[in-house]
């Protein structure tokens, strides 16, 4: 019932039809408090072939009560940027610059004590594959209780009770008994529910869900998305949903950030961006979705493959795969990296002055 909570939200609808000159994520008057403010974030990993530029110059925000979807292919830097929020990169094997303000506290360069305090209590993460993300040797209830104990000065008994409550909250039947079972005794969907219970046990302001439905059956996927949505409304937290599934975005996201090769290429309200993509990459992603309305013999694919993050192409990273590159005068795409420019309610990183018009044309062709 809450698959699209924002569908009836008047502010979102207004913002969608009446563009404002400021970036979409900051638009709307009853937007919640900014929980996460990422500014000019870069993450690099040293490798034998040279530094891997996993994330470059990335900025975005997450607000209470809103769901931000981060979309992109594998290796586009979606997960890397959110892992940095919890300080989960090995400091010895990563170089992180820029600023990550989590509930007002700087995370980049923060000490272990600060990170420990913020993890789970302020921001929590749900991972893609709940089977590998839960420890196979410990009981589910104990794993949830452990996170609660880490931030609350309570007895083990109280923590255990809390774990059972959480399992109940995420819709696991017979939570008393389930808490005493091991992850391998759970079904895939139940495991992901348990993972969500673990994520929410300390009532964090920000919940990061890293492809939470990828490893699940299609029927279970919808249940899990519904659950995240319901819990978000109940807890009022901010949600970042990392996904490569645009269908999921359409269902649950308020805002969208499209990433390509470590950079943001398009950012705005999810409804706008999905209806009228302005960046050729976003457009191509949408084109590659199977359609239920039209007869399609073949799915459209984006030609080529994502570039190496060690050796990015010069200029716009997307130019080798771009379908509308010939519409840009000269060799601008090859020589110059486009800025992330505000266009209407959103930001787009493309040299085309009015990408929307061109892309609509392209669509007709």
């Amino acid at each position: 019932m809450t698959a699209q909570p924002h569908a009836d939200d008047p502010t979102v609808a207004v913002a969608a039809t009446e563009p404002e000159p400021i970036p979409a994520a900051r638009a709307g008057k009853d937007d919640g408090e900014v929980v996460l403010e990422i500014t000019d974030l870069s993450v690099r990993f040293p490798s034998d072939e040279g530094p891997v530029n996993a994330v470059q110059g990335l900025s975005y925000q997450a607000r209470l009560g809103r769901t931000l979807a981060i979309v992109g292919e594998s290796g586009s830097g979606k997960s890397v940027s959110t892992m940095a929020v919890l300080g989960l990169h090995n400091p010895k094997r990563s170089m992180i610059t820029g600023s990550i303000l989590l509930d007002g506290e700087e995370v980049v360069g923060a000490d272990e004590q600060t990170m420990r305090r913020l993890r789970s209590s302020t921001a929590a993460m749900i991972f893609q594959d709940p089977l590998s993300a839960l420890h196979p040797f410990y009981k589910v209830g104990g794993q949830i209780a452990e996170a609660y104990l880490a931030h609350n000065n309570v007895s083990r008994e109280v923590a255990r009770k809390r774990a059972v409550e959480m399992l109940d909250l995420v819709g696991i039947p017979n939570p008393q008994r389930r808490a005493k079972q091991y992850p391998h005794e759970f079904s895939g969907g139940m495991r992901q529910r348990a993972m969500i219970a673990l994520g929410l046990v300390n009532n964090p302001k920000l919940l990061i869900a890293d492809e939470p439905t990828t490893a699940l059956d299609v029927t279970v996927q919808a249940q899990i998305l519904d659950l995240i949505n319901n819990l978000q409304m109940e807890f009022g937290s901010a949600v970042i949903l990392i996904t490569h599934d645009l269908g999921v975005v359409a269902e649950v996201a308020d805002d969208i950030l499209v990433m390509y090769a470590g950079r943001a290429v398009e950012r705005g309200l999810a409804k706008d961006v999905l209806a009228h993509p302005m960046h050729p990459y976003t457009y191509a992603l949408l084109q590659s979705l199977p359609s239920t309305h039209e007869d399609q013999d073949q799915l459209l694919t984006i030609k080529g493959s994502p570039p190496s993050l060690v050796n990015l192409p010069p200029g716009c990273s997307f130019h080798p795969r771009c379908a509308v590159r010939d519409r840009v005068p000269g060799d601008l795409c090859v020589t110059q990296l486009p800025e992330l420019r505000p266009i209407g309610t959103r930001q787009v990183r493309c040299h085309l002055a009015d990408p929307e018009r061109v892309l609509e044309e392209e669509m007709r062709a």
Partner: protein, 328 residues
Amino acid sequence: MLVYLGKRMLMALSVLLTVVVATFLLFFMGPSDPAQALCPDTKCNDAKLSEIRHALKLDRPVSDQLSEYLRGMVAGRQIEYGGTSLDCKAPCLGYSFRSRVEVKEAVLSKFPSTAMLALMTMVMFLVTGVTIGVYAARRRGTRLDRLVVGVSQVVGSIPSYILLLLFALYLTVLYPIFPRATGINDGAGPWLAGLIAPAVILGLIYSTSYVRFTRASMIDTLAQDYVRTARSKGISEQRVVYKHAFRAAMSPVVTILGLDMAGLLSGTLITERIFEVDGMGRLAITSLGLDDLPMIMGTVLVGCFLVVLMNLLVDIAYSFIDPRVRLS
């Protein structure tokens, strides 16, 4: 659990039976001739040889000897030996061809030294190997880690008898820092003290592979999703490493430990020889040299039994470490 144990017992019995038959056949197919070995050098002639063969029943078909041996193991048997009849109770492993000692007695008297040496060695290599392995894994890629890996590889690739010989020569003979081995009958104190030297060096040799194994296993588990989940809970790094990563990293180490312990408990031939430890290894070597079939059978069977037992213990240990493992 009981069904599982029953199944495993049956398997163990069939393994032991196979080993008995194989050892018996190998012994008689080979060039070994117990009679020749027992025959006095000066006045050995064909008559004497056949006399010995008859006394040891070696002149009877191999199948008869084998079936009698097996019967002895199950039900015990009477052994005619130089006119006297010896009562050998089940499980009868026979009497030594040479010394008229019951094999069971001989093995049991040698086992304590070997077992204690194995135990002390295990403590040594587990403590050093696992500690250093975990340490190196947590500092993967640093100079210290490379040093640890390098040293363990170099030490691990030197033939162990060279290290054992050098250690014995320098630290028990030239500079007698460690006391030399004595029999168990010379008092528990000196007996234990005498086992320190072989345990230390043997432990160090074994620890090189445990360092590398623990390190690799730890690196693997530290990169697991569930360790990342643990870290994202906001618990201490110590807890992340030891409660979440270490326990998972130890389950493959247990497998190797079981096999190594089976090897150590059935006697370390070279170490016992070099350090003059009166254990199973020395008994095995001596018996082989004398073509003492019952004694050889005895040491082989004990070794085989230990391998089977250790495998069973490893499987049971597994089911305690990893709840996904069901004994069936």
